[in-house]
Amino acid sequence: MNVFDGQEAAAWFRKTFADLRSEVGKVIVGQDDVVESVLVCLAANGHVLLEGMPGLGKTLLVRTVSECLGLDFSRIQFTPDMMPADVTGTNVLASSESGQRAFEFRKGPIFANLVLADEINRATPKTQSALLEAMQERSVTVGGVRHELIEPFLVMATQNPIEQEGTYPLPEAQLDRFFFKLVVPYPTKAELAEVIERTTGNVEGKASVVAHGEDVLKLRQIVREVPVSKEVLDFALAIVVGTHPEGEGACPFATEYARYGSSPRGAQSIVTAAKIFGLLEGRFNASKEDVKKAALPSLRHRVILNYGAEGANVSPERLIKEVVSFAESRDRDPIKV
């Protein structure tokens, strides 16, 4: 890297991030945290799962981000009858100008920089698997031929928490592939007023391109350079280990209510996100506060609750909060005065 020094790199990162946020903000009203988190996933090279009620602007958000970056965008509306080939693409018989016929690979919608997998839980597991394989491997294999996806590549999936009939909830192993799971909240009254004003009037917000694919790659490179102290790392790992119902460092609350804790991907996600939060805060390091902030979106889809939790109405969010508190309680000032 070192095209520029640390100060400049951090300044450029913040500016680019701020520009993107500001540009997205021209179209999306409110939802600041969600917007920021989506951009964090972009900078962290991680896919994002958005969960929220219909009509909250999930699709618009993804589309706007792609517009701001000037990247290829494709949207896949998942339905139960959708086949994997509808996602990855397929070989079709095509005639050449000389009249020869041959199979030719026709790329599916996955071949884009930004992919919106809308209502992913409506697709069958088979189709979901095709998408998730692409997300992990960043390539698809069709007819024995491997096709690399283009970089930057980011999948933004949405799912609807209601209308469970006819849906196929994502298996835990597949959920683990998402960097963040974001819950899109209802807008506030003021935000709703602004949404109504923009969508029912003549003036429509339009986002312009403020960064490009190369910038996204550069953002990711800068993030990797952010230092994390051993102490902060220990704290992040204490949170992850704390979600495990058994073993050393387990939080008693997790022992009671968790069936499975977070995978190592959860720790990767927390640390990477903490680095980004640190940079955005104007620092050159990740702090424990950043780790705490990153814990909820990173882990809420990675912990699996047991029946006891369901009975006691314990949500993953509550469990993560308890685990974070537990880790904090064990992280004491080494000098007692």
Partner: protein, 575 residues
């Protein structure tokens, strides 16, 4: 900052120790006193401050702590790790330095009450509460309160008894045993004052202490006797040296020695003359040191008149023998031969008598020197003092008490001996021996004084408990209660008594309790009337057994009062 925390930790540790102590105090295992508790607290605080001040904290730990306290978002901790190859290493370092520069140490580590301080204060409060509650009259009933008051009073008395033992005025170095006894008495006094002991236990303990004091006095007596033996040896050596210096060397003394034949002749002659030798000036040990026997000493010890008489008798006897020899010589050859053996014997006898006459002369000179030295006033004083002290030491060893008069007499004799030895100093050949004698005698005196003090202390303590001491000989005690008031009226007039006794009444101010009478009855001990075990020693056990029997319903109801009264009367009418 470290010192502030160290203070709290030190105080807490001290507080925990104090808690253990007051806990033991509460359980009557090991008694606590406020000064000791405070000393532990202060010691802990000082040790904590020093340890805290000297303790060094690693830089990384300090950085992590400041990060937390100043909310520096882990800037310092991260910067402290090596980031030289990182893109953000330099700006992170600058950022950390800049952030640190904005802080003041007092804002990061303000002087405040932390958990350690709260714990230390809590421990101190607990200690104080337990100690105060354990010694407070609030929680006691009226009966217990009155018993406690009585015990407290006894404690004060015992404390007064222990004081002179602890720091005796006239003894430079207190013997270890006496010090220990004083310590035990003090401890006993504290237990009584704090009411951590019941009356039965107190009586039992008082008896134990009395036995210890008795043993201590015996030990002191033994020690005194040893010192006196050493003084005696030095004394004998001094005599010998003195004789030698007077020109009476060993050879002279050897020459003076009589052969068995000479001794036999002398004895016979003395018997025939009906001599009554004056009392010997030397004891066996002295004679042995000088290398002469009793018969020789008799020869030397004659009066001038006896000496003349014997000389004449021997001369006469010699003449008779010579006449007999001459008569034999004049006999015809055959007759003379028959009497030759008799003649030889007479010849031998004559020679022995001659030698004896020679030794008369020698003994006269030797004994003159010896007597001059041995029978000097100074030597007599020293010897007398030594013998007296030896006798008192033996008395003490046998468990008999020394009276104040005896001790005063000994002190006077010791003083006179010292003066006599001083006086002799210029005439003595070996002044070191004189010093040794004086020193050993003084040591012996100290031992006797110490033993006597232990005996007196115990007597007073036992009197405080309403009991007479073990084998009291009826001597007046030198009670300090009378000594300090300045109102003592020792009338010393004899009161009307029955039998062969002498009673002295003493009226005086007894501390702040008003005027009291003390009676001293001096009477000879009647042989055969003493029990083999003083009843005071067994009284507490018997009393406690009786009380157990009373409380267990083993005594008929109509007899209970009688039994109780009987034991009360034995222990001076007190409970």
């Amino acid at each position: 900052m470290g010192a502030w925390q160290g203070l709290a930790v030190g105080l807490l540790v001290a507080g925990v120790l104090d808690l253990v102590w007051v806990g033991l105090d509460w359980a009557r295992v090991f008694y606590a006193d406020s000064r000791g508790l405070a000393l532990i607290g202060a010691g802990g605080a000082v040790a904590g401050i020093v340890a805290g001040y000297l303790r060094r904290v690693p830089n990384l730990v300090l950085a992590q702590s400041i990060d937390r306290r100043a909310d520096l978002q882990d800037r310092l901790g991260t910067a402290m790790e090596d980031r030289s190859d990182s893109l953000f290493g330099a700006p992170l370092g600058d950022d950390a330095v800049h952030s640190l520069g904005r802080l003041s140490p007092s804002s990061v580590y303000p002087v405040r009450f932390g958990a350690w301080h709260i714990a230390a204060v809590t421990a101190a409060v607990l200690v104080a509460s337990i100690f105060v509650l354990g010694n407070s009259p609030v929680l006691r009933g009226p009966k217990t309160a009155s018993e406690r008051a009585e015990l407290k009073e006894l404690g004060a008395k015992v404390e007064r008894v222990a004081k002179p033992l602890e720091k005796p005025v006239n003894v430079a170095q207190t013997p270890v045993g006496q010090k220990k006894l004083a310590g035990e008495l003090n401890q006993f006094a504290k237990e009584l004052e704090q009411g951590k002991i019941n009356k039965e236990e107190a009586l039992r303990k008082a008896n134990d202490l009395a036995s210890k004091a008795e043993q201590e006095a015996k030990d002191r007596g033994q020690e005194a006797e040893q010192k006196l033996d050493q003084a005696e040896t030095a004394f004998t050596k001094m005599q010998k040296a003195q004789l030698e210096s007077a020109g009476l060397d060993k050879q002279d003394l050897e020459n003076l020695k009589l052969t068995p034949e000479e001794a036999q002749t002398l004895e016979r002659e003395m018997q025939e003359q009906g001599f009554q030798n004056p009392k010997s000036s030397f004891n066996d040990q002295q004679l042995s040191e000088l290398g002469i026997d009793r018969t020789t000493e008799k020869l030397a010890n004659m009066t001038p008149e006896q000496r003349d008489q014997l000389r004449q008798a021997i001369s006469k006897r010699q003449e008779e023998v010579q006449k007999e020899i001459d008569r034999i010589d004049k006999l015809p050859e055959a007759e003379r031969k028959a009497l030759e053996q008799q003649r030889q014997e007479l010849q031998k006898q004559s020679e022995e008598l001659k030698k004896l006459m020679d030794k008369f002369k020698l003994s006269e000179e030797a004994m003159k020197t010896l007597k001059e030295f041995m029978q000097s006033e100074e030597m007599k004083k020293v010897r007398e003092a030594m013998q007296n002290m030896q006798s008192q030491a033996q008395q003490m060893q046998q468990g008999q008490k020394l009276t104040k008069e005896q001790m005063d007499e000994l002190a006077k004799q010791l003083q006179a001996s010292k003066e006599a030895l001083e006086k002799m100093a210029k005439d003595l050949k070996d002044p070191e021996l004189r010093k040794q004698i004086a020193q050993q005698m003084e040591e012996a005196m100290k031992q006797l004084q110490s033993g006597q003090m232990s005996q007196q202390a115990m007597m007073q303590m036992m009197q405080s408990f309403g009991m007479q001491s073990g084998d009291s000989d009826g001597e007046a005690s030198s009670d300090d209660n009378f000594a300090d008031t300045g109102k003592v009226n020792k009338s010393e007039h004899e009161m009307e008594t029955k039998g062969n006794t002498r009673t002295t009444g003493v009226k005086g101010q007894w501390a702040d309790k008003g005027e009291q009478w003390s009676m001293t009855i001096k009477a000879p001990t009647q042989v055969g009337n003493r029990s083999s075990v003083p009843y005071q020693k067994v009284l507490p056990q018997y009393k406690s057994a009786a009380e157990r029997a009373l409380s267990g319903g083993k005594i008929p109801k109509e007899q209970e009062k009688r039994v109780k009264e009987y034991f009360d009367s034995l222990s001076g009418g007190k409970g």
